[in-house]
């Protein structure tokens, strides 16, 4: 059961409206762009171009994708692509990344928003992110053939920035059971776990599998989480086996996450 949902996202300097319906495309290449986005306004045109770009990258990579290819895949002229993205390929790529991040976050919002306890929020968030990322054909092509394009955005300081963004986004979904600082901390920690297992997969744990992720969350994450004392019964204590109660701990002394 998936509702239609709409959201706005900022792309570069402008704001773009996106309306999504139905499940996200598992791969941009097979995504029936034209059927879902009948030409209407400028933002529809941008979305078509963005999806066409994803399809091209999934096929031939970033280096070999030209704006002509994108125009052809989007079924429009090169001039239209330039009108939609006056900054050319760089501006287009910024928009592609922003759009895909927003799509991921929106899908996670639907999943995590529907969860009724803390364990479920974490499991649905982790599996949702893992499935979408591991099924992303454009990203898979780049990681395999042009890692130098992707990895600089995912490592060291850039990884820190990514963690800060993810935790700021995900924390409110944990806020029913955790105070704000703890929600930020746990979101950041969970994002690390996801990125580690996706970056260096292991045979013993499939991050897209509910049972595997539930095991991971119960074993390593929930025992390290301090649940609000007034949280709903089924939220914290009940999800942790009785012998493995959450351990209240003192975190960093400064207000966590807010400095970044």
């Amino acid at each position: 059961m998936r509702q239609d949902w709409a959201y706005r996202l900022t792309v570069g300097s402008g704001t773009l409206s996106l309306v999504q319906s139905g499940p996200m495309p598992s791969g941009a290449g097979s995504h029936p762009v034209t059927a879902r986005h009948p030409v209407a306004g400028a933002s529809d045109q941008r979305v078509r171009v963005i999806d066409a770009t994803l399809a091209c990258i999934a096929r031939v990579g970033l280096g070999k994708t030209t704006l002509d290819d994108v125009a052809r895949a989007a079924g429009c002229s090169r001039a239209t692509v330039y009108r939609a993205f006056p900054g050319g390929k760089d501006a287009l790529m910024t928009a592609v990344v922003d759009t895909e991040v927003s799509r991921l976050f929106s899908e996670l919002a639907v999943r995590m928003g529907a969860a009724c306890d803390l364990e479920e929020v974490l499991v649905s968030g982790i599996t949702g992110a893992a499935r979408r990322i591991s099924e992303h054909q454009a990203l898979a092509f780049l990681l395999e053939h042009e890692p130098e394009v992707v990895l600089p955005h995912l490592a060291f300081d850039h990884h820190d920035r990514l963690l800060a963004e993810v935790s700021a986004y995900a924390a409110p979904f944990l806020g029913r059971w955790l105070d704000h600082a703890e929600a930020l901390r746990v979101s950041e920690w969970t994002a690390r776990i996801v990125l580690s297992y996706l970056g260096c997969p292991t045979q013993s744990l499939d991050l897209t599998d509910d049972a595997d992720v539930r095991h991971l969350v119960r074993t390593f994450v929930l025992p390290g989480v301090t649940v609000l004392s007034g949280a709903p019964d089924h939220a914290g204590t009940a999800v942790v086996p009785p012998t493995r109660r959450p351990v209240p701990i003192a975190g960093p002394t400064t207000s966590k996450g807010e400095a970044s």
Partner: protein, 189 residues
């Protein structure tokens, strides 16, 4: 362990990388710096520049984790290994001038190389941690291999990207180790 002429070439290449970066370092530069002929460098690194650069990254990577290993070797407990290791490794990353420079100027060259090493590193750290885990009272049902793998992953991520944690503060590192590394691994006190 690198030794002899091969080590000499790697050291010379490293000196060139420190000066000019990974992309601009050539076999000629490395040979001149080492006081060897190009032919000798090619004998040790038949793949030329690419192989040399990959070898120097790999060598420095191993050196880094060897220093980390030596730093924590005499630690008495699991907690101490993790706390001392994290404090030391994060400081070493920040103080590693060549690493920092290359991360700023040529991340697209360095990071694919580092990523290739990550899987092996996780396995190596996990193997190192297992004896400490075996000596420690663990939480019910915890599998030692699984816990060691999880801890190794966490160590790698905090070393490279501390997020909101101040990894120069021993108090914060201790809190980090108690919560995000060990809360589910060790038996509740």
């Amino acid at each position: 362990m690198e030794s002899g002429t091969r080590l000499r070439i790697l050291e010379a290449t490293y000196a060139c990388v420190a000066r000019w970066g990974l992309s601009k370092t050539t076999v000629e530069d490395a040979a001149r710096e080492a006081g060897l002929s190009r032919a000798t460098v090619y004998r040790y690194f038949p793949g030329g520049r690419d192989e040399l650069v990959a070898a120097v990254v790999s060598w420095q990577y191993v050196e880094f984790f060897t220093r980390l290993y030596e730093e924590v070797l005499d630690a008495a407990s699991l907690e101490e290994v993790l706390e001392r290791g994290l404090l030391f490794a994060r400081r070493a990353v920040l103080e590693h001038q060549v690493l920092q420079k290359v991360l700023q100027t040529e991340p697209e060259v360095l990071l694919p190389q580092l990523t290739l090493q990550s899987n092996r590193t996780i396995a190596a750290i996990a193997t190192f941690l297992e004896p400490y885990l075996l000596r420690h009272p663990l939480a019910e049902g915890v599998d030692v291999h699984e816990a060691a793998d999880f801890l190794a992953r966490m160590i790698l991520t905090y070393i490279a990207s501390p997020g909101h944690w101040d990894m120069s503060d021993p108090g914060q590192v201790a809190a980090l180790v108690r919560t995000e590394l060990l809360a589910g691994v060790v038996a509740p006190a």
